[in-house]
Symmetry: C2
């Protein structure tokens, strides 16, 4: 790679966490807010989230789910109904205690109108949705009930990082009730694979699907499934989770139904969610030292046209030509949707303009100047190959080439991420190697474990390493063996990593 | 009209507010929640809101706006920065004072972790967005800044009614900053007309656009514009508002920019919003004593097919035929989108099935039984003409007729609402008539007024009647005259009504 100066300082190599913040700033994805731990999602970041929403929402509907909306607030006593659930969420929630402001003794505004019962700003909605479901469900004919909600939730985080961990975040939460255990288990897994297909096919990030160990389960769930991906600093990110709730929340919320035999039974539940954290994962998986890199299928803009006129007298001609090309290319399709093309006519220096799009991660940039107009060949720059010379095409060739190139970029990004993960995933069978691995560069370690939560807790405490999941993939899981930490029998390998 | 029993009890005539609640329940649009003043939006109600969102979002984008997301919470001291604003919102807001729950003296959960500064759950976002805009804006080149946000807001309402007035509601809030006063004023009006085109063209409800009187202005605005529609009980509903903020919030939030002459100036602002209240207005404008009536352009489902097999042995044949018809009709288009058709194969009695769709307001219902299959002619029922016999068409005719009929229904609903409003709008020039009008059936009264807020307040107190707007329409406004209440000069008529 050439030694030219990179747009992002520091580089990934120099300081990964600071590099991440710089990419966010340079691409105008997000901003700090005056509210502790809450972020502002700027238009470019929100456009990415909107595309994620659109894709997932369609998949949820195709799999039979309907959207609905439930209250932001949960009465305090609801939380006490499910013991594990309150334990998991009580320590980090926003509590509303008053319903107005009034003039205090010093003339300043102070909270007034104390509430009889405090309200919790939802950290998740199982308890409130469960209560409502209990009213809607009476007979097996009402099942399955398949509901999804797009909303904001609040978890009072002490250490926050934009997109990855914020006090308020946006998500969707699916909540379903089924007549049988088998059907609910199937639903929980089906939705996990909807997520995995999305992150792999659209975000171009390979993810490992599996089951969480007991200690990493959602508070109140019988089983939690998750997908785990590797970032460029070799740490894991949890992409989405899906929970088989058994009858726990149905008991707590009294969701019962009359079965075909006329007997009353508690329903079998699931819940599953994906959050704005996916935007953080997307950034960390593909971006480079020049800024954001967007896989074409998630990019809100596929191609930007940059009219270049060094000679002011030619500006009008160049701009008008560029606009015509823009219109022409806008009729193209990519991945079943209209190609998104924009012509940048802002009154900025060419270099500044070009770099603003590089930093925003646009997959393709097309330069149009007098020389290009004269020759009929136009320079097309790929964002994923910054150090290669641009390709030159005629307009006719461009029309044929652009959709093909976009698919090529999508696939290249996925393959690059997959290769990186493979290169940094290891089967480890000795304690010494395990400890060396995680004091060094780290990565994913597939190791045997005796399923004892105490061992898991010790590894977490000593090395900051957790079990990310028990992979479904039989090859990763491998044959039964001996626990790395105790020598006791282990049914198969599990995935250890440091994680976001 | 025939004397058959109606599906909704009580009827509009008998008790309009209770009829409204019954329609909501019968159509499964919304439900009460365990949280005071908050509602649950059920899938059918949410599907309507989603369609509203999709249409408006597209219009906002076409007019150059980008979506973004800002924090749910506003620090208390932000509210104190704009005097009118805090006065308007301080009395009705949810205040977060703690960030966790802990075990209290009696073992029950109590709020713990008091915050240094209380946080307000946003009742609207001018102050928090203004603070962020101040960071983003530095030069005239950064203007106009055109941002929209879809989110939830909370206003602590004492008397709530589903969709029309709830403690938490969903909305969009546009926030823009411009370099000149003229440009900001133009924006505020432009967005008002985006709303009016939407409610008239899609919701099929005639609305009157105008300016609010000073006392009805948004707290902190220089000017508030609104659209006002008439419900079937002759009361007004405010459909959406758009505010010209002048430099008020720019001063409070220090949003300044360097103009073309190199001088620093405060920006000129607007904000504008539409809420889930529009769903309430939609219900109240068109529905009848058999339930919801949906204009086709906002209906999530245009046509439902009802297979009818009295003879169980024929059921399979009928259902399979109906499904084929459903597939065939699904390829049709209406209003530039795919026709939404569904075949109801639920295991319910025919009457129950049919009425469930009537109550949900589906524009067209198609019955398919053995007799219809044999004759090749199918009975198509219009939701807006419940007491007329169905129309009979061949499959070929159906394909041509359905889109035409849907347009016809859309227009018929608009014309019916427009006629109703015209019949119940009166120019009133005597105090006696005014008072009689509003102690009787009421409606819209166009009257002269001397622009004195004291008069306005008195009318509100004595008759519960408010000035809905000062219409833009010159014909409504009429020639200058004499104030109905004081005999003083009046520049033109204003719109008085009781309102939701």
């Amino acid at each position: 790679m050439s030694k030219r100066k990179r747009a992002i300082q520091p580089t990934r190599e120099e300081n990964y966490p600071e590099w991440y913040q710089s990419v966010l700033q340079a691409a105008e994805l997000a901003d700090h807010s005056p509210v502790r731990g809450c972020m502002v999602i700027r238009p470019w970041g929100f456009a990415i989230w909107e595309k994620m929403q659109r894709y997932l929402d369609q998949k949820f509907k195709e799999t039979g789910h309907s959207n609905a909306y439930f209250p932001l607030f949960v009465p305090l006593h609801y939380f006490e109904k499910e013991a594990a659930h309150v334990e998991g969420f009580a320590k980090e929630c926003a509590v509303v205690t008053h319903h107005r402001l009034e003039k205090g003794p010093e003339g300043k505004l102070v909270p007034g109108g104390p509430l009889e019962e405090p309200l919790i700003v939802r950290p998740t909605s199982e308890m409130i949705i469960g209560h409502v479901f209990a009213k809607w469900i009476d007979s097996y004919r009402d099942l399955p009930l398949l509901i999804n909600q797009w909303c904001n939730v609040v978890r009072w985080e002490m250490r926050t990082r934009m997109f990855l961990r914020t006090t308020e975040f946006l998500w969707q939460e699916g909540h379903t009730v089924h007549a049988t255990k088998e059907e609910a288990e199937e639903e929980a897994q089906k939705m996990l694979f909807v997520y995995r297909d999305f992150v792999q096919g659209i975000l171009a990030i390979p993810f490992i699907a599996g089951e969480k160990s007991a200690s990493e389960r959602f508070p109140g769930a019988v089983n939690t499934y998750a997908i785990e991906g590797m970032m460029q600093d070799r740490k894991a990110i949890q992409g989405a989770t899906s929970h088989f709730l058994g009858q726990n929340f149905s008991r707590a919320c009294e969701i019962s139904f009359q079965n075909v035999h006329g007997e009353r039974e508690f329903g079998w539940g699931t819940s599953w969610g994906a959050t704005t954290r996916l935007v953080g994962g997307l950034i960390m998986a593909h971006s480079d030292d020049d800024g954001l890199v967007l896989p074409p299928r998630i990019a809100p803009l596929h191609l930007v046209i940059l009219p270049i006129a060094h000679d002011a007298s030619k500006k009008e001609e160049v701009v008008s030509f560029a606009k015509k090309v823009c219109e022409q290319l806008s009729s193209l399709s990519f991945a079943g949707e209209k190609l998104q093309v924009s012509c940048d006519v802002r009154d900025l220096r060419g270099g500044e303009k070009n770099w603003s799009w590089i930093k925003k991660g646009i997959p393709l940039r097309l330069e149009i100047g007098m020389r290009e107009i004269a020759s009929g060949r136009f320079a097309l720059h790929r964002r994923d190959r910054m150090d290669e010379p641009p390709l030159a095409y005629t307009l006719e060739e461009l029309e044929a080439k652009i959709p093909v190139l976009l698919e090529e970029i999508q696939e290249a990004l996925y393959q690059r991420a997959l290769l990186f993960r493979r290169q940094n995933t290891k089967e480890i069978d000795s304690l010494e190697e395990f400890s060396q691995f995680f004091s060094g560069e780290g990565g994913f370690a597939l190791c045997h474990w005796n399923e004892d939560p105490a061992i898991e807790a010790k590894v977490k405490e000593e090395l900051g390493v957790t079990i990310r999941c028990i992979p479904f993939d039989k090859e990763m899981r491998g044959a039964p063996g001996r626990c790395l930490f105790t020598g006791e029998p282990s049914p198969g390998r599990v995935l250890f990593a440091k994680a976001y």
